[in-house]
Amino acid sequence: MNKMEKALSELSGMDRLAEQDSPLHRIHPSAKLLSTVLYVIVTVSFSKYDLSGLFPMILWPLLLFQISGITLRSCFYRLRIVLPLVMAVGLFNPFFDRTPVLKIGAFTVTGGMISMLTLMLKGVYCLMASYLLMATTGIDQLCAALRKMHFPRMLVTLLLLTYRYVGVMTEELAVMTDAYQLRAPGQKGIHISAWGSFQGQLLLRSMDRAQELYSSMLLRGYHEHFHYADVSPFHWTDLLYIAGSAAVFFFFRYFNTARLIGTFFVR
């Protein structure tokens, strides 16, 4: 199995996770979407120096991982490519902001270090929340929820087809990579001299595939209106989920829980 086939397998792995059954999977997709958006907004709204205030926000995704039965390991494994990028955000803060805020022995903690850690945590938390949403909802249910919330049809269709098309392009790339590797034994990756033609071929092939797929859709009655997955009706438990998660987020936002807990031990 080459890298592309692995990527394809991981992509379908997300769909399989979304097909599992757990109390979180059973929550209405709109409720999960709203709760996740709220989580991201509240997380991002923390001040760049409020590291201790931000810490307890991890509790919500951790709780959801427990409820959904999805492992934290699978989350970090699937996010391994974007995590370094998120971690890189704020990497230069310690160089620009050298204001001392804390002294631990001889070591001075600067504002830049705190803001760097805060930015990193914000990124990681938001990724975890987004992963949970996708892993417990699936793209079809998510798009159905977006349509129910009256998001523009064109945007939602674009989102759904783009997600589907990633798989198609990855398949093409897998075939091309195999063909290349079989005639370039011992070579790691694609040699730079072949990059141009490789990309050109991929573009042409993916355009052909796209045209064929679109024809297949047209021939089966598609007319710019996608029939999204059936979404179960909105129950009071879904409302409770939104209200409960909002209450938790705002509590963490306006009460520094880490400091509150700390006061029990340090007076």
Partner: protein, 239 residues
């Protein structure tokens, strides 16, 4: 009924791929479309489906194949593509099968019933929730046919339905085609399969009809086949 009258098509001006062909296929007939590579078989299919627009007149059930009528015409035509990967674009077999019935206005309950009926008819119940990209070549081809049967079309068009299938799956597909009562137009290089499934054959050569008649008669005519870059079906070849 399918009716082609003096139909021509060219991708580039002055170089026709289809050159003034005319034929009629009555309802319920099973017709094989044969010819060497580049003879125009797939183009005939695409013209009939309205994916390409040529000159001349094409009618399906008396309705001309023009832009305004495409939605109505396509509702009655089921096209099984040569490459099942290009046909199946949803994550699972079920979602792919329900795509067309929903587009043609069926409620989800009715569409579900239809999907189940087709899956039972083809003995593919176990494939229902399988992911498309995890299917084997044979399963994928059967699932692609199932997606088309879920449309309940009056006419079934198939482009190389037996390509890339092992002998057992090929036999299953042939038996399935034989069991379908609809009008069928099957483009293929597999002349043995055409012999097994079609009562009539249209032989295309360089965009023209070189022969049109009973399958047995045309497929036994070695001179005719060889003159058009084809060979006798294996089952009719002397050992």
């Amino acid at each position: 009924m399918i009716d082609f009258q003096n139909v021509s098509f060219a991708y580039e001006k002055g170089d026709p791929v289809i050159d003034g062909i005319s034929f009629t296929i009555p309802s319920g007939e099973s017709v094989g479309l044969i010819g060497a590579n580049g003879a125009g078989k797939s183009t005939v299919m695409k013209l009939l489906l309205g994916l390409l627009q040529g000159e001349g007149t094409i009618r399906v059930g008396g309705t001309p194949v023009i832009k305004e009528n495409l939605a109505k015409i396509r509702a009655g035509l089921g096209f099984v593509m040569q490459n099942s990967d290009n046909q199946m674009f949803m994550p699972t077999v079920y979602e792919d099968m329900i795509f067309a019935p929903l587009n043609y206005g069926l409620s989800r309950e009715d569409a579900d019933l239809r999907v189940d009926r087709v899956l039972t008819q083809l003995g593919l119940e176990k494939l229902k929730y399988r992911h498309n990209h995890k299917l084997s070549g044979g399963e994928k081809r059967m699932a692609a046919i199932a997606t088309i049967l879920a449309m309940e079309p009056q006419v079934i068009l198939m482009d190389e339905p037996s390509s890339a299938l092992d002998p057992r799956n090929r036999r299953i597909v042939i038996n399935l085609i034989r069991s379908l009562g609809q009008t069928k137009l099957i483009a293929s290089h597999d002349l043995d399969m055409i012999l097994d499934t079609c009562s009539r054959v249209i032989l295309l050569s360089e965009g023209r009809i070189a022969a049109d008649g009973p399958a047995e008669e045309i497929l036994r005519n070695r001179e005719l086949l060889e003159a058009n870059r084809l060979e006798l079906p294996l089952s009719l070849s002397p050992r």
